[in-house]
């Protein structure tokens, strides 16, 4: 996926108002199967995969023993419910190899098989309020309108020259309604062209980053990494200690009990054109400091915005060290945008 096709802000606006197309085939897919699959997934990830019925998915985290985050990912219950559970896990492209290495060693067992299936899948994301109307004419074998958010299903896609098997999930990284289509790499060019011809606008990495910052979704290496625990990142809602033990559980619970010392917040410079960047230093009147994790120009709000870590209970007024100056900014709650 290039950084942009026509223009980052223009592409982002089109996703918010119509429909955009993202080639996210670089992401990794790990398949875990066997009688021990569920228990392996439960041991490695923070969310409760036992709650997943066939056709459902959940956002989850994989952490180290010290509670630091190794990756954020989506777990799909991939089997049809007639035999033992099988899961497909979509991981960040940049973490694919380390994740698979960790999963297959820390999650190993006689009754569980881990497979890096990334090369078997291409992934195309169609995102925006017009997604369903645009996609529906090409899809058969399923009730697309009835597919709930975070549900997924097998289906057939009528591409230009052939019908192809696809797996459609109502998931995405933009904050809009939309779908992610799993298909074979061979089928993906036709599916892409079919959807682009139907009016979906190709969008690149730049727009993807703008949209996810507006929706305030974390990006690994920015808001989350091995130095952050889920509670600091505002992701306590995907941590389910009641389900039983998992890697990092004790460490993150004890961090929560001692008190979370920094939190993820929004930062909005007073100068609408002052785009904060990752690692921009934030200072407060009392001398405490924070730092920016991501920043962009928001086409929805028409001003520069950023996400940042600040000490718990920071005041609203802050200064950003930018352009060799201290620029005033406000610390705000997240998200910036909700559909």
């Amino acid at each position: 996926m290039p950084v942009q096709y026509t223009g980052i802000l223009q592409e982002a606006r089109i996703v918010r108002s119509a429909a955009g197309l993202f080639d996210v085939s670089h992401m990794g897919q790990v398949v875990v199967s066997g009688p021990g699959a569920l228990s392996a997934v439960q041991r490695l990830l923070t969310n409760d995969a036992s709650k997943l019925a066939p056709g459902r998915a959940q956002y989850s985290l994989m952490c180290r023993d010290d509670g630091g985050i190794l990756d954020d990912l989506i777990v799909y219950r991939w089997d049809d419910g007639t035999a033992e559970p099988e899961f497909l896990i979509v991981v960040n492209a940049s973490n694919r190899e380390q994740d698979f290495g960790w999963m297959s060693s820390r999650g190993s067992g006689d009754d569980v098989t881990w497979r890096d299936a990334s090369d078997d899948y291409a992934l195309i994301a169609l995102q925006g309020p017009n997604s369903q109307d645009l996609l529906a004419p090409f899809v058969s074998g399923t009730d697309l309108a009835g597919l709930r958010y975070f549900s997924h299903t097998k289906a057939e896609f009528r591409a230009l020259t052939k019908r192809t098997a696809v797996h459609i999930a109502r998931t995405g990284y933009t904050g809009e309604d939309g779908f992610e289509l799993f298909c074979t790499p061979d089928d993906s060019p036709e599916i892409w062209v079919t959807l682009a011809n139907a009016g979906a606008r190709p969008c690149g990495l730049g727009a993807r980053d703008v949209l996810r910052i507006e929706a305030s979704y974390p990006l690994y290496g920015h808001e989350i990494d091995t130095t952050t625990n889920p509670y600091e990142a505002g992701l306590g809602w995907v941590v389910k200690p009641a389900k039983g033990d998992f890697v990092g559980r004790d460490a993150m619970l004890s961090a929560r009990e001692s008190g979370i010392t920094r939190v993820l917040r929004g930062v909005v410079p007073v100068d609408e054109r002052a785009v904060p960047r990752q690692d921009t230093v934030i200072t407060f009147a009392d001398g405490r400091e924070g730092r920016v994790t991501s920043g962009t120009m928001s086409p929805t709000l028409n001003r520069a915005i950023g996400i940042c870590y600040v000490p718990s209970h920071s005041p609203e007024s802050a200064l950003l060290e930018m352009r060799g100056k201290q620029l005033p900014a406000s610390i705000t709650s997240l998200p910036f945008y909700k559909r």
Binding site: G7, L9, R273, V275, R277, T296, M297
Partner: protein, 126 residues
């Protein structure tokens, strides 16, 4: 990639128009605006300040990154394009029409350091 023949170019993607009266007009090229993406902010020195050949003199920021402007000539700033300073995103759509500043040359022979349009075309193709 648009590269007008009547301009000279620096290797850091500024264009220079010789106004024929000892001053030049300076902007950034089509190549530069495409690399930068959506421009969000432009910072230039004040009128009367001096540019020194090959030194940074300002910043252009885009959604993606902040980039330094490098002086293609030495001289004193005689004019700033305030509408472009106020709305720098116009540079993306019209890089050669959106001049940034005018400079009175201290050393007109420095123009020989710059590339012709065809040299710049080769340079950007590499």
């Amino acid at each position: 990639m648009d590269i007008p023949g009547n301009l000279k170019y620096s290797q850091t993607h500024e264009w220079v128009l010789d106004n024929g009266d000892g001053t030049v007009t300076i902007g950034i090229t089509d190549y530069a605006q495409a690399e930068l993406g959506d421009i969000t902010y432009l910072e230039l020195p004040d009128l009367g300040r001096e540019l020194t050949y090959d030194d940074p003199f300002g910043t252009v920021e885009s959604v993606k990154a902040a980039s330094e402007l490098i002086a293609p000539v030495t001289g004193v700033i005689t004019e700033l394009n305030q509408p472009v300073l106020d709305d720098p995103e116009v540079i993306n759509g019209d890089p050669y029409g959106s001049w940034m500043l005018k400079v009175r040359l201290s050393n007109p022979s420095e123009l020989e350091n710059l590339l012709t349009a065809s040299d710049y075309a080769e340079f950007t193709e590499a």
